[in-house]
Symmetry: C2
Subunit: 322 residues, 2 copies
Amino acid sequence: MNFVSVLEDIATKDLQELENCVEQAISEDKFIYETCEPLFNGGKRLRPVLFLLCSRSLGDCPIEKTLPLATALELIHTASLVHDDILDNAQKRRRVQTVNSMHGAQIAVLVGDYLFAKAFQLVAQGNYGSKIDAILSMLVKDLCIGEIMQDRAIFTVPTMTEYYDRINLKTAIFLSTCCKLGAIIAGMEQKDIDSLASYGTSLGLAFQIIDDVLDFFGDEKITGKKIGGDIKSGVINLPVIRALSVSDEADVLREIVTRREVTQSDIDDALEIIKNTDAVEYCKQRADSHIDSARQNLPFVMKSSVSLALEQIADFVVDRSW
Amino acid sequence: MNFVSVLEDIATKDLQELENCVEQAISEDKFIYETCEPLFNGGKRLRPVLFLLCSRSLGDCPIEKTLPLATALELIHTASLVHDDILDNAQKRRRVQTVNSMHGAQIAVLVGDYLFAKAFQLVAQGNYGSKIDAILSMLVKDLCIGEIMQDRAIFTVPTMTEYYDRINLKTAIFLSTCCKLGAIIAGMEQKDIDSLASYGTSLGLAFQIIDDVLDFFGDEKITGKKIGGDIKSGVINLPVIRALSVSDEADVLREIVTRREVTQSDIDDALEIIKNTDAVEYCKQRADSHIDSARQNLPFVMKSSVSLALEQIADFVVDRSW
């Protein structure tokens, strides 16, 4: 199962139109097109899918009304990935070469900026009004603050509050904003908008926690990411935080994760220490509990087909292997 | 004389309020404030000044109506400088350390992104409508394309058309957009909006040509930039293009400017070759002719005090030493 099939039950045409819009959005300049086209292959489209689903909460919503914003959300996500890959000096993403590895950091900065600007242009053209424009710019600001927070805290062990603040800004607020925007476009009441935003937040927290687990225990062939990448880049994530608080070998683990240069054998040692604790189980429980609360936040007023799709997405997030 | 005194004749309070707004715009997050505050010291504020002046073309324009957009223009300019400094690996800008030299490229990417997002937030809050939002996002896209064009063409000699395309996207469109936005806010007729936009374009072309000359013959203490910086970073500018077409030593010059590693003595040699031609005189004539056409584009319908200020800015651009 993937998100596409979830949405297909509700609106077969929407996702194809989204693909066309994304394609069109990057087609103005030849170099931009050639550089960006591979970036959009293989993406999950989670953010526009959440938005599109929520926009249909109360009934059909004309696709012309939702498409520019759905496209903008995917462009903002991709722009932030392009900039993230500079930060992480990543070579591959979604199994294709990153912009920085192909063209250098300079071009990657500009390509990301271009995608952000294009997103704001689509929203301006979509004429959604200043409330929605403001929500979108706030989202980009929050993403930046989350990444700055992460970058400034690398190689230091965060408290649980710091960890949650970071994954909230980095991931949860984005999913929450997609749901909120959909709910606003659907014309829902404020309390239902808030509920859907809470669904998105909980979903995002669970999503990021599972991402943390997959960083250690994912299948490289499926995730497309190297095992232990977070340790290498100094990002101390939930499995480590948990293992540090329960493992007999916490001192060894702490020494590895706070050191700026680690070898593959260090990463293997860290992995072994984490495996010997309940860290993975603990993370999955945390993720499950966020997914429970996501599910509880789905407003009753919603069309049942949309509710069902959002529940399926929630299940998928905790069960995913990528 | 500086731009502040030009504006002071017309609206003493405006610039002070702009400073307050810029200060407020960067005050939400402690790290952002500490990093960005020095960046805004010593800027010329050319872009918001052009916008504010043009907004008063036909009569007084409430400052509450113009301030968010004026601030957004300065934030966009600063964001693009922060990202440019990553591209150029610059250590200093406006005599203060660049964000990348203080905190690394990672943080500089994010700080620039934050400033772009904050600019779009201010514009959303200012409720200017989708037409103005679209103009602003188009501007950021054009800036990116201009920089990408420049980055991809380093160490190659551009044709005159390529050179003009690049400085148009990099500089002229920005000044033009500031004037155009001011004219729209002022409620001018389309033909006068177009005229003011043309004034801005011509001003921007002259501005960039003088910048090119200052790169070779400016006073480092005044410009705050190293002599020959463009040669070092592979950007081939107008004095070089002219010298290549008229100098007896064009071959030597071509060899230096297209080589990826140059010493100070190479730069001195290039400087000497350029000096022995009419390149500087030629650039100044070109700049003068753009300034003439800028002046001719000032619409008659404008308040004479605004016209006068825009003429003073035009004179200043060609006479400036920084």
